[in-house]
Amino acid sequence: MTQSFRLESGGLINRDKKISFKFNSKNYFGYEGDTLASALIANGVHLIGRSFKYHRPRGFFGAGVDEPYAIVQLYRNGETEPNVKATEQELFEGLEAKSVNCWPSVNFDVGAINNFLKIFLPAGFYYKTFMWPKSFWYKVYEPFIRKAAGLGTASIKHDKERYEHKYEYCDLLITGSGPSGLASAYSAAKNGAKVILAEDKSRFGGTLLTSEVNIGNQSGKEWADSIISELKEMPNVTVKNRSQVFGYYDHNMLVMSERLSDHLPKTKKFHPKQRLWYIRAKEVLISSGSIERPIVFGNNDTPGVMLSSAAKEYMKVYGVLVGKKPLVFTNNDSGYETAIEFKKNGINPIILDTRKEPQSEIIEEAKNMNIKIKNSHVVVAAQGYKKVKSADIAKISDNKEELGSIENIECDCICVSGFWTPTIHLASQSGNKTKFNGDIDAFVPGISKQNEKTLGAANGIYTLEETLKDSFEKGNLTSKKITNKENKFSFPNVVEKKSTVHDKFWCVPLPKGKNYKRFLDFQNDVAVSDIEIALKEGYRSIEHVKRYTTLGMATDQGKTSNLNGLQLVSKIENKVVPAVGHTTFRPPYTPVSIGAIVGREVGKHSKPTRKSPMHLWHEKNNAVFVDAGVWLRPRYYKRGEENLFEASKREAKNVRTNVGVCDVTTLGKIDIKGPDAAELLNRVYTNAWLKLPVGKARYGVMLREDGIVMDDGTTTRISENHYHMTTTTAQAANVLSHLEYYLQLVWPELNVNVVSSTEQWAGAAIAGPKSRNLLQKLFPNSDVSNEGLPFMGYMEADLFGIKARIFRISFSGELAYEVNVESDNGYFMWEKIIEFGEEFGIQPYGTEALSTLRIEMGHVAGSELDGRTIPYDNSLEGLLSKKKDFIGKRSLSRKAFAAQDRQKIVGVVPLDKKTSIPEGSHLVKDSNAPLPNPKLGYISASCWSVEHDNPFSLAILKDGKNMIGKKLFVMSPLKNKVIPVEIVSSHYVDPKGERVRS
């Protein structure tokens, strides 16, 4: 297949290397260095998709990041990516792309009926029409709209690609490698500053690649190449292409996405596809250039209508003609440059200039080349459906309101130039209050808020010489402040053609009797008429107009539409543009892959996995694990075909009858040392701590200042000034911060040190009536009798040559001990416990059995200490010291906390002794009461009591104290269950607590 729109020579592509690709299942070829867009245009493909709302045919509008139309579904190495801009996607061997938003095909699209029904789809159409009947929204309207509107399809497969994050610091970050970026980077680099220069395209140089200029006797491109190669050699400079700085955040942190592999058929082994850079820059020089803006006219969305700068870029960079009968429609000199380029390639363009008698060097050159120029002329409407076939043109009056007689001229493309809009997104994101520059009809950065300066075209400077001078100087001065070095540098001689002022003209009036759609936002199909409706309906704020009409809300974020939208609003409202203001620029400047944002933190890497030293043993012994925060804990140890329920029952029962062992390494542990340690504990815990003897443990509850229970646990006095505190697994980190807060800020006079020792100790809870027998075997040289090691006692002992700590504490309510050894010895300890426990029928038990044991004992845990309960609610009021003050005590005297009928923990048993009660269910008095049925309380934890062999739950119940013996109903609308229950004591097993002391 021949490339009918490829020039014989020219461009920066490598014609020696052909690359084949597929578009909509058809084979084409292009050259190395092409974008998908340039290769398609070269092959004469001008229809690429359908528009968002009306499904009108869509072609190419730009040649880069500003592209609103050419959005494709990309297929690469077995993966697919939606909404890729064809103008940004570099061609690679085997690339496949498909049109989006069209069915059944781009050439014949059923949705295009919307185009003929467009009278029904004006601004706010969805808001007005699909509101009624309400029930239709989810079932009828929304699915239909979602199917009809929308762009590409995201893959639901796991993304196999790797994305990386990188943190970097630099003196100067320079965003863009056009003339201003290169000049400033060069002078800053020469001053020894650490510079990062980022370019979003694959080629460096920006407009230097396409403009006819001369710098120091070199062409623009040659000069750019020489600067870049010099910068690349410098150790203090990082030069990155395919890298878009898309966000400017607080304290001069910018984020850049580097596309390392998107241009390759396949990511290289061990390489990331993309890398996200978090760059903390001392100074930022914004050299992002400007984007040409369109002039609005009838049917200006027809394929073949495009920006004149894009047409020039396709010729100069890719050696591609966007048309062979071009019409250039311009209000400034830029259009002439495009026309001249056409002419040089043997094509005869016609220029329509809205100005009356413009004169400049460039215009002179065009005239000398015999290019046909029609002054005071406009394109009224493009004609043609899938491609421009001709244009209705007319003379326009000096006041730009009256059209002369309409003439139709044949053409195959219309290259539009409505002057240039500085790319101020990054400056605005940084907090810079932008200002309107009437000379260029656009906003430019105003006073900097952060350490940022804007250079060149991004700052509204449109001549090369001025840009270079300003940029060299700003690069020099900014870097000099940091490095205290200044490198003398002679400014190169610059040759460029002088241009004259642009015409403040942006929208062609409608001819009488015609109702052409004149589009502002090409991706979201927002036309002049839509804005008019919004204003008629009373929308005034530009932010509201934007949301109502969706102007500038598409994936291109209005890069080519915002200013024309503002012009229109200001015209209708009879205000100046700055009085209308612009909508807020927010990151990202251009779409960023979710993968790049997430980086390596996916799947197993999304958070660290913490494992106890005994983890391997659990794995070998069929443990089924559960996430407990970031820890993995055995939930139960599966035997044969057992399920969770059966296994946990077996394990819990074995603790009640024989002995069990549970890995409690995950419990938070804090080592507390210092002469004032007891005083700290006395202030932090609600009960008294000053008289705890050495070698004893005590249970304690700590509150927040607002009186809510924060955590509970036991703390043991290891020696005179040394304590070992345990916390719940979940609160370990918070409790440490809490202690540090009081020690550092509130009571700095206390001489105490706290440090986390959770990882330093491996812990095993040995629980059950036979636990002492086992302990005697494990520690034959220690007196672990009830007298030698009483309840809440502590001793240090020797476990076959290893130092161990034994705490006689119990969570299960049975006679129990916790043995701690240094983490490295955890596995050894565990194996010994299992080995010596065999004769007593030992079984390991997981968190499920652990829960069962504590629930039927009425011991509170995280589900009761849920940040909403005070000590009384958990029947912990006995632990509140009356003699001393402690954190949160004052709050407990608040009215609601002291109420007589306050909620309290109770036990709940189903009357039939069979039906399990779902956690989270509500307790109500009357199951048939009309809704909303008054809720008396809620089920906090449920289990199957192994002691009584029936279901048992804990609940927090209003006036729980006086409810024991009452009959209520448990209701779970979620599970559609109503269960008659009896309220009992929360201590369902061993209410006197005799076992732990036995």
Binding site: D250, Y278, R280, E740, L745, V746, K884, D885, R890
Partner: protein, 89 residues
Amino acid sequence: MLHIKCPHCGMRSQNEFSYGGDATVKRPELGKEISDQDWDNFVYNRKSLRGKHWELWQHLSGCRQWIKVYRDTATHEIFKTLKANEEIS
């Protein structure tokens, strides 16, 4: 992301820190009588002001020290940071 100068460690990224609220709040002395109103002011009532604010941060993933940071809540500008034992001036 903010860049906070820890008085102990130097400039560090915000993600190493956790926020601790108003630094000017003083905990009432233990064991002292206090009215409901004063206690509520200590526990709950905060100004939530727009502008310069002395606040606490903890250098959680660093030296674990609580520090005082003088920050503009609207612009995020940080004017000064102090160690826990240094008085706000």
